[in-house]
C-alpha cells in the first residue's frame, strides 16, 4: 500500500479532474434542456456521462486505479453482479406487462 501512495496525483491534478467533472455536469444539465433537439440520444448520452463521472471519481479520487487487484476485483465484481441482476429484474418486470 505504501508504494501506491507515492503514485497518487498532485493537488493541481485533482483540481483539473474536478474541472472536468464540473464540465461534464454542465453538459448533463444542458442535455436535459435540449432534449427536444437531441431526441432519442439524450438518455443514452446522459447515462454515458454519468458512467464517465462515476469512473473518474472512483478511479482517481478513490484511488481505485492505484489499488491492489483484490480490491479492484471485488468492487468491479459487485458492480457487474448488481448490473446483471437488476437488469434482469427490470427487463422481466417491463416485459411481464406485455405478455
Amino acid at each position: 500500500m505504501s508504494d501506491s501512495h507515492i503514485e497518487h496525483p498532485t493537488p493541481q491534478k485533482y483540481v483539473q479532474i474536478a474541472i472536468v467533472l464540473g464540465v461534464l455536469t454542465a453538459i448533463e444539465i444542458a442535455l436535459y434542456y435540449t432534449e427536444d433537439i437531441v431526441g432519442v440520444f439524450t438518455d443514452p448520452l446522459l447515462i454515458f456521462l454519468a458512467v464517465g463521472k462515476f469512473i473518474i471519481v472512483v478511479g482517481w479520487f478513490m484511488h481505485l486505479r492505484y489499488e491492489n487487484k483484490t480490491i479492484n476485483r471485488f468492487f468491479i465484481g459487485g458492480m457487474i453482479l448488481a448490473l446483471i441482476l437488476f437488469t434482469i429484474v427490470m427487463v422481466e418486470r417491463a416485459s411481464a406487462n406485455y405478455f
Binding site: 455536469t25 448533463e28 479520487f61 478513490m62 483484490t70 480490491i71 468492487f75 429484474v89
Partner: protein, 194 residues
C-alpha cells in the same frame, strides 16, 4: 498494521481495514442497486396522479449536485494534505467538505419541504414513495458522512493531530464520502435528468 511478531498478516499486501472498507462499499452497491431498480420500475409505470416532473426544480438540484461533486474535490485535497502531514490544510479541507455536505443536506431538506407543500407526500403514490425512500436513504448516508467528517475535524484539533493510522481514519472516511458522491452522480442522472 504491523507485524511486530512472527505472526503474519496481509499476504495479499492490502491493508486489512482498507480491504474491509472496500468490501463494505461493494455491498453498498447492492443496497443502492435495489433502491434504484425499484425506482426505475415505478418511474416507468403509468400510474395516475402527480408525476415527478410536476415537482422537480432542475436548476436547484443541479446546483446542489454540483456542490456535492465539489465536496469530493475538497475531500481528496484533505487526504492529500494529510499524506504530506500538513495538519493545518487537512483541517481546513475537512471542514470545507463537511460544510459542503451540510449545504447539500440543507438543500435536500428544502427540496423535500417544497415537494411536500406541492402535495407530493411520502404516501401520495409510488412515484413519491420511491423518490423519498431512495433520495432519503442517500441523504442518510450524507448525514452520517458529515458526522464522521466533523468527528475527524474534532480529533484533528488535538495536539497529536490526525494520522492515516488506526481505526476510522481519514482515508476510510474519504472512501465513504467519495462513494456517497458517486451514488449521487448516478441518482442525479437516473432520478432527475432521464
Amino acid at each position: 498494521m504491523s507485524d511486530s511478531h512472527a505472526y503474519p498478516h496481509e499476504p495479499t499486501g492490502v491493508e486489512t481495514r482498507k480491504l474491509g472498507m472496500w468490501v463494505f462499499l461493494s455491498t453498498e452497491i447492492l443496497f443502492f442497486g435495489t433502491l434504484i431498480t425499484t425506482f426505475m420500475i415505478f418511474k416507468g409505470s403509468d400510474f395516475p396522479g402527480m408525476k415527478l416532473t410536476d415537482v422537480y426544480d432542475i436548476p436547484f438540484t443541479s446546483i446542489s449536485s454540483f456542490i456535492l461533486l465539489m465536496s469530493s474535490l475538497t475531500m481528496v485535497l484533505a487526504h492529500n494534505a494529510l499524506e504530506v502531514n500538513d495538519q493545518e490544510k487537512t483541517r481546513v479541507w475537512l471542514l470545507a467538505t463537511a460544510m459542503l455536505g451540510a449545504v447539500f443536506l440543507a438543500g435536500q431538506i428544502y427540496e423535500f419541504t417544497e415537494f411536500y407543500h406541492k402535495g407530493f407526500e411520502l404516501s401520495t403514490n409510488i412515484y413519491s414513495s420511491s423518490f423519498y425512500v431512495l433520495t432519503g436513504f442517500h441523504g442518510l448516508h450524507v448525514f452520517i458522512g458529515v458526522v464522521l467528517l466533523l468527528a475527524l475535524w474534532g480529533i484533528g484539533q488535538r495536539q497529536k493531530g490526525l494520522t492515516l493510522e488506526g481505526g476510522m481514519n481519514l482515508e476510510f472516511v474519504a472512501l465513504y464520502w467519495h462513494f456517497v458522491d458517486i451514488v449521487w452522480i448516478v441518482l442525479f442522472t437516473v432520478v432527475y435528468l432521464i
